[in-house]
């Protein structure tokens, strides 16, 4: 595995290597290099199995992390390749030419994260959602509970009590009603 990574390092710059387990590595590379790296890994290093392609939303950094998980049948190692792309203009090179089934992941990402993969087959067709009008739901700024409450109105008639507040109310109401404390809270 070391050798593979060294060979890869000669070609491009690898930002970080994490060895999570004996059979699991993660590397971070630049967005531009993805096609080069993947085709190198697939053709030269025998990482022939694309286990998945997924995104993680880092909203506070304004980035999407894309993870390509590859597997090598010979050395039996999983290699995760991480790429960071901009959240605003989220667009990525399509890899359906390397792995025909990648279109499926890309179509899902387009729908659930709003990441575009120009050139990928059927990328604009809806995948699991139908008639979706909000922002892509897997983005972190989409609040699913609020949407659910707004759209699917829950069965009414439920109330709950916080034990702390309830006991205050019941047991030392008078004291509680006085100013929380004598301290100025500024």
């Amino acid at each position: 595995m070391e050798q593979i990574l060294n060979r890869l390092k000669q070609k491009i710059e690898i930002k970080s290597v994490i060895n999570k387990r004996a059979d699991l590595y993660f590397i971070t590379i630049k967005k531009e290099h993805i096609e080069l790296v993947l085709s190198h890994l697939k053709q030269q290093e025998n990482f022939t199995h694309l286990a998945f392609l997924q995104a993680v939303d880092y909203i506070e950094d304004d980035k999407f992390q894309l993870t390509y998980m590859l597997y090598n049948y010979d050395i039996k190692v999983n290699l995760g390749i991480k790429v960071f792309i901009d959240r605003d203009k989220s667009e990525m090179t399509s890899i359906h030419k390397l792995w025909p089934h990648a279109w499926q992941y890309q179509r899902e990402l387009k729908e659930l994260f709003g990441i575009d993969f120009p050139g990928s087959p059927r990328v604009d067709e809806s995948f699991v959602l139908e008639g979706w009008e909000e922002i892509p739901p897997m983005r972190r700024d989409f609040d699913t509970l609020a949407y659910s409450v707004k759209t699917f109105y829950q069965r009414p008639g439920r109330t709950t009590n916080d034990p702390k507040r309830y006991m205050k109310e019941k047991l030392y109401k008078n004291f509680a009603k006085s100013p929380e404390s004598g301290r100025n809270d500024e």
């Binding site: 069965r155 008639g157 439920r158 109330t159 709950t160 009590n161 916080d162 034990p163 702390k164 507040r165 309830y166 006991m167 205050k168 019941k170 047991l171 030392y172 008078n174 004291f175 509680a176 006085s178 100013p179 929380e180 404390s181 004598g182 301290r183 100025n184 500024e186």
Partner: protein, 588 residues
């Protein structure tokens, strides 16, 4: 297509001759497995309404609602979980996490209805057909999702500690504190139980997030004596901790101490940023104990000018003079007092108000008074020989130790009493080099002292003689000779067991010193007669209303002199309440 392939499939007909697998009557023949996760049951006697089940439920299926049959009291919120079967997924996380073990599941699983609104019920309150079902899911013994074991605090060895007055527990390190804080379930039952109603879950949360500043701010909202309280508080909060039902409660007291251990006195004022705006009203406070000082603190924050009159040469009252140093080092107490003084509270030390004129002067020159004189008079045992010189009171002993006076107790000392002050006296005597025995009327488990104190005393080789009553003290050379009687316990429904002397069973011991620590009284003699007559008292304690006001409008009272709990945190709470009361009274 071989012939075998055509004939072999007819093998299916073999099954037709066999007995079918079908269950004849699936509705009755098949109860769920022994630990099947069926419908919920709740044992109301165990449940305290802590709401952990509500917190853990990922479906938001549980509501806490008041139930008619359950009263809210200090250890029970009076709320009970109401489960919405329109949400539940029968994962039994609520059962696993239930700290009291009251919530379980039966192995019943059939509930069919045409009205979906029915699917909301309070297990335990609403009669359900599976209530008597014995089988069903319960948390396994060796499986737990919450941590029932307290993080141990480093402490001195028995040898080391029983020979010196160095503080015996070391305090938590940061890792330990965070780990301990993580055990908290944030139920908040402790808040009600705490006399000062400190917001315990919040400051524990602050510890967890490692935000000491916030924690200090939360502490000072309700308790200006946190450094002291973090050591000697009677921590009733820990008794009601929901974890205490099946394990060890959160070390709330130690965590409080941990917060104050992290900050120096200078940092406290930086963190609190208290700004004082004066409002030109003056308040007098008699007694610089925890009650008086905390009243002073909160009143000062509200802008009042405070003057405190204290008979001793240092502040702190019982905290200083009634609690041995190995439990509360004086520098910690000074830390608390110094901060209050730094806000501009004026304390007149060594000022005993013994004349009426003096009191009247104070009474007239201030807008309101707060009196918290404390309990300094020891209650006698009322037996012959009590007046002998080697018979002293516990409070005197502690007082003398604090004042660093020379004390000679001899080699064999007996302490009578079962409260914290008895333990303090006994352990102090131990540290002064004596062999100590404790005599008590009832059994050990009936002792009002903290369990840890008793255990620690036992560790330190203090001998216990429960169910004994002193009958007579005689002088025997330089020492004393005692006659004790044995007691038997008489149990009555709903009452504390009553000790009754067994006639004829007596024994004798020889002692050098006898320490009486069965209780103390307030000394209200400083009050002028007309005020003393007007102030209502009961069992020797000043009667006050909810906000500390006595029957004399202008006079507020608190601390041991007026509350029956006689511990530091109640005094602090009294001070706080009275501060609020005075503020209301003056701004009416």
């Amino acid at each position: 297509m071989s012939l075998k392939d055509i004939i072999s499939p007819f093998n299916v007909w073999k099954r037709a001759a066999q007995k079918p697998w079908t269950i004849k009557d699936p509705l009755n023949d098949r109860p769920g497995a022994d630990n099947y996760r069926g419908f919920h049951k709740n044992d109301f006697d165990k449940c305290v309404g802590c709401g952990t089940c509500e917190d853990i439920c990922q479906n938001a299926a549980i509501d806490l609602v008041p139930v008619q049959t359950v009263e809210t009291d200090m250890s029970d919120s009076g709320l009970r979980p109401k489960i919405d079967y329109g949400r539940c997924c029968w994962c039994a996380l609520c059962v696993d996490v239930c700290p009291t073990g009251s919530l379980t599941m039966s192995n019943d699983y059939t509930w069919v209805t045409d009205d979906p609104e029915e699917y909301r019920f309070i297990p335990g309150a609403d009669k359900m057909k599976w209530d008597d079902c014995e089988k069903g899911y319960k948390r396994a013994e060796n499986f737990q999702l919450i941590d029932f074991d307290r993080i141990k605090m480093n402490e001195l060895g028995v040898e080391e500690r029983s020979s010196s007055f160095i503080e015996m527990v070391k305090g938590y390190s940061k890792e330990q504190a965070i780990e301990e804080a993580e055990r908290c379930l944030e139920c908040g039952i402790c808040v009600a139980r705490c006399p000062a109603h400190m917001d315990i879950p919040e400051y524990i949360k602050a510890i967890r997030e490692d935000d000491i500043e916030l924690a200090v701010q939360i502490l000072y909202k309700t308790n200006p004596f946190s450094a002291s309280c973090g050591r000697i508080c009677t921590h009733h909060c820990e008794d009601v901790c929901s974890l205490a039902h099946n394990g060890e409660p959160i070390a709330i007291r130690w965590l409080k101490r941990y917060i104050l251990d992290q900050v120096s006195p200078e940092e406290i004022s930086k963190i609190l940023k208290d700004i004082i705006q004066t409002n030109n009203k003056k308040i007098a406070i008699i007694g610089a104990g925890p009650g008086g000082l905390s009243a002073a603190y909160y009143l000062r924050l509200l802008g009042y000018e405070i003057e405190i009159f204290e008979s001793n040469e240092k502040g702190g009252g019982m905290l200083r003079y009634g609690i041995p140093e190995y439990r509360l080092p004086y520098d910690q107490l000074d830390k608390d007092i110094d901060y209050i003084v730094s806000l501009g509270v004026k304390i007149n030390y060594n000022t005993k108000i013994s004349e009426e004129a003096k009191f009247n002067e104070i009474y007239n020159s201030h807008d309101a008074l707060f009196i918290s004189p404390g309990l300094w008079n020891s209650i006698p045992v009322n037996i012959t020989g009590e007046e002998l010189p080697n018979v002293i009171s516990g409070i005197d002993l502690l007082n003398k130790v604090t004042n660093k006076e020379e004390i000679d107790l001899g080699s064999k000392v007996a302490v009578i009493g079962g409260g914290n002050s008895a333990m303090d006296a006994a352990r102090t005597a131990k540290r002064l080099g004596a062999d100590v025995e404790i005599y008590y009327r009832r059994r050990i488990e009936d002792m009002p002292a903290d369990v840890e104190e008793i255990e620690e005393a036992q560790d330190e080789n203090v001998k216990f003689f429960p169910q004994t009553t002193p009958l007579e003290i005689k002088k025997d050379g330089s020492g004393l000779k005692f006659i004790w009687g044995n007691n038997k316990m008489i149990y009555e429904e709903g009452k504390r067991p009553k000790p009754v002397l067994i006639k004829g069973e007596t024994f004798e011991t020889n002692l050098d010193t006898f320490i009486i620590a069965i209780g103390q009284n307030a000394d209200l003699s400083f009050l002028p007669t007309e005020i003393r007559d007007n102030i209502e008292t009961k069992w020797g304690k000043v009667v006050v209303n909810e906000l500390g006001q006595t029957s004399v409008e202008k006079v507020f009272s608190g601390g041991d002199a007026s509350n029956s709990k006689a511990d530091a945190v109640s005094a602090i709470a009294d001070g706080h309440k009275a501060a609020v009361g005075i503020d209301r009274y003056l701004n009416k």
